[in-house]
Symmetry: C2
């Protein structure tokens, strides 16, 4: 057996442990009764230890060295590169720092749950200080190992190849037109007459509707399922993708759009190259690309007027409300394209969403680089919220800088993925439009060419090439925020 | 850290892997879509390898040796004894035999699924021959390690302390009165007028009824749940017990009695001593004791006239059929105590069930000991079915010696547990009756004293003492088939 083969076998083994972790994690969120939590967490922690030991086994250094001197095909070289990437990310941070980080962030996150409700910034900031300190230490170690800056070294965990330099340029572009665009759209939407749908929309019917839409969107029910959890997510494994949602009997659109969003994630996972199953090169390329698929399904496809022309009658029929004026395609389009600046990122529409992300990016970048301290966050938050969205958040930590779980749990470098995803999605759609008439396809209920395009250009590539190569091959150029702007202008100001 | 403590830590780690195995196994049976099966089986096989490596780690021999020389409390000694028991069972069989067995039985079981439907005894017996041969080799190795006979060494895996000698005596007792008892009951029941309930009984209502009964039987929903699977079982872990059932819209009693049966298993698991969680000494004592709890709930408790007085009106109300003459307590009692010899063990009533078990025990005992060969099975089967139940099975392998999954999957020594469980349950009930008036408690809807008795005498003992000590302490004597006989006579011939 060659060293490359030994490494491949080793990573397939690791992937089997990830499989168990994914299913038990899904169960914990979607099925497990509360009382099972302690033992489950302990069992999963044990699995994490075993995985970590395996992922950082001392013999791997030599295996990589030897494998790199073997004669490999171009594909195998890509596979080796991704295995090494994963291995380096696992090994570079010393075990005691990993443990210290895990302890500090679980303490911070746990306390945050009540501190947020109590608007307790002083209490929270004390814990966060510790989390940031450890994140900086981790970033420093990763920076030294990769030659990247501290923040870039964290960014690289989620969006390999992306840099502060590129992000700064992209986000500067967005900031140059977004505030003005938001006010133009707000102005245009002033006189829209929206009829709010009035519940109850029974859970059982919402579930039926969700399953019908997943089916239309090509979700493979032989390799996945839909369930309920407090926080919707896409989990499981490519051969068995588990998506979740939560139902509100007064508002069916939020669960519906959530399911469509997760279906985008799911189809990416279900479409990954089987040939590379269990190897890093067969996994999703990046968090940004992952988000681009969920946002392609949710924003590019399903909030389009053409698609709502399918969605609305299906919803009306499912709820037995074919006469409800709130469920006409026209009214549902108004609901699903409403733009309104708000405090909460996860509730934001696609136009104001980037403002939330850019704000967080700028703060966490400076925090990790050591240019600002935790104590500076509230003032910066208030200033940027006012500047980007015209909102006053002073003294409201709950709906301000304490709203997200990312910082309490020590995830720095993740936020940009959301807006990168929106940009990738817009750029994919623009390229697709050069090849086919999307609106006609939707009206003909023929979505297959759209999925085939994504499958060929994104899903089946896995991690065989870099993110920028995926983008370049699929769209003819590197990431360009103009496609996102054009999408917004076309949808909201046409 | 003492060696005892090191061993305890080691076994807690093993138990965490068992936790993951239990949840992923439950998911595979109750949740997983078909297409996820291959990757799931591979992931679980990997987990089994890791568990096995850990359970048979070479350093354990020395740890046990050292721990045995440490000063331990009586409780710790019991704990050490159970750890060693588990370790010896894992280590004594060489890895290549384990693998060969696993391969032969999965081949045999897989083929059996179609061979059984096709009544293909020649095809099946060829595979079974191989399975039996390997089981004999395993039995021989275990016999040499334990000083037991070959069959006893296998029996010991499921029912520690039980022996062929004791079983022969117990079953001889049963055989001396069972055939006559069956005909007396059949005679007595000849003129019973049973009204068969006519469906449909909607699945959703059956589920509600199941949950209501589980609640009355004290199932802790904060530490468990009810779902659906093709073959009902009790799985999960003590802090999160997963029971399953399957619903038939034409017959609600089978799912209902199945749920009650699994609830008995579940309460045993939920009631195991928390103090010993994760250690062998904190686990269920034996398969027979486990079955005694499910049969106590199903047979002793729930098929009693008093309990059906609760069940029947609850069912009638749940199905909106308070006027249905099929759902009166009187008619439901007739249905739930109907005795009728049949070909299929899993469909048998509690009176004829032991005949099925004794027949299988006698055949597998002689098979493992080498007194008979696979080719002898059909003739023996036919002879015993005719003798014990008056049924002719000649040429009908499908409903005869090919009906159970146990032999194809290489589980020899398990069958006696079912009838041992029925006997233990009857003996527990007889002892309980000396302390309280069971019928009165049921009529007063006050089941707590019954559960408290089981908790104290069975559940909380875990594996801290031997099965015979559990029985002796709880009932004042060792296993005695007369209690089972008296139960049957009292219920069916009174």
């Amino acid at each position: 057996m060659t060293f490359y083969q030994k490494l491949a076998q080793h990573h397939k083994k690791l992937s089997k442990l990830d499989h168990l972790e994914a299913i038990c994690g899904w169960d914990q969120a979607a099925m497990m009764p509360e009382g099972g939590n302690t033992a489950r967490s302990e069992a999963m922690a044990e699995l994490a230890v075993i995985s970590h030991e395996l992922a950082t086994a001392p013999y791997l250094a030599e295996w990589f060295e030897r494998a790199e001197r073997e004669t490999l095909t171009a594909e195998e070289k890509a596979s080796l590169r991704e295995m090494k990437r994963q291995w380096q990310q696992h090994t570079v941070v010393p075990a005691d720092l990993v443990e210290e980080k895990s302890l500090a962030s679980s303490t911070c996150e746990h306390a945050w749950r009540s501190q947020r409700a109590q608007n307790d910034w002083p209490g929270f900031s004390e814990n966060l200080q510790k989390v940031v300190e450890l994140a900086r230490r981790e970033a420093q170690i990763r920076a030294e190992a990769t030659g990247l800056s501290r923040y870039d070294a964290l960014l690289d965990l989620y969006e390999p190849g992306m840099s502060t330099k590129e992000l700064d340029a992209l986000f500067a572009d967005v900031k140059s037109w977004l505030p003005e665009l938001i006010s133009q759209i707000r102005e245009k939407q002033t006189h829209d007459q929206i009829i709010q749908p009035v519940g109850p929309f029974p859970v059982e019917q919402q579930k039926q509707l969700s399953l019908a839409i997943m089916d239309k969107l090509g979700f493979d029910f032989n390799h996945g399922r839909l369930d309920v959890s407090a926080h919707p997510f896409c989990g499981g494994v490519p051969t068995d993708v588990r998506i979740t949602t939560r139902y509100d009997e007064n508002d069916f659109t939020s669960a519906l759009m959530g399911v469509i969003h997760e279906t985008g994630h799911a189809r990416y996972e279900q479409g990954l190259p089987v040939k590379w199953a269990g190897l890093p090169v067969g996994k999703a390329r990046s968090m940004g690309i992952h988000e681009s698929q969920s946002l392609f399904f949710e924003m590019q496809l399903s909030r389009s007027e053409a698609f709502i022309g399918i969605l609305a009658p299906l919803a009306a029929e499912t709820f037995g409300r074919t006469d409800d004026p709130a469920l006409t395609p026209e009214n549902m389009t108004l609901i699903n394209t409403r733009v309104k600046p708000g405090y909460i990122r996860v509730d934001a529409d696609e136009v104001t969403y980037p403002a939330h992300v850019i704000l967080r990016y700028e703060i966490e970048r400076d925090l990790i680089e050591g240019n600002i301290e935790v104590a500076d966050i509230p003032e910066l938050w208030d200033k940027k919220m006012s500047e980007y969205l015209g909102l006053n958040t002073k003294g409201n930590f709950t709906d301000g800088c304490m709203q997200d779980i990312h910082w309490p749990m020590g995830s720095f470098g993740y936020f940009p993925s959301y807006t990168l995803g929106a940009m990738y999605a817009a750029q994919f759609m623009a390229a697709m439009r050069r090849e086919m008439n999307i609106e006609n396809l939707i009206r003909e209920r023929n979505l297959q060419p759209i999925f085939n395009w994504l499958d060929r250009h994104v899903w089946k590539r896995g991690s065989t090439v870099s993110t920028s190569k995926v983008l370049q091959d699929a769209t003819g150029e590197t990431l360009n925020a103009q496609f996102f702007k054009e999408h917004l202008v076309h949808r909201y100001l046409k």
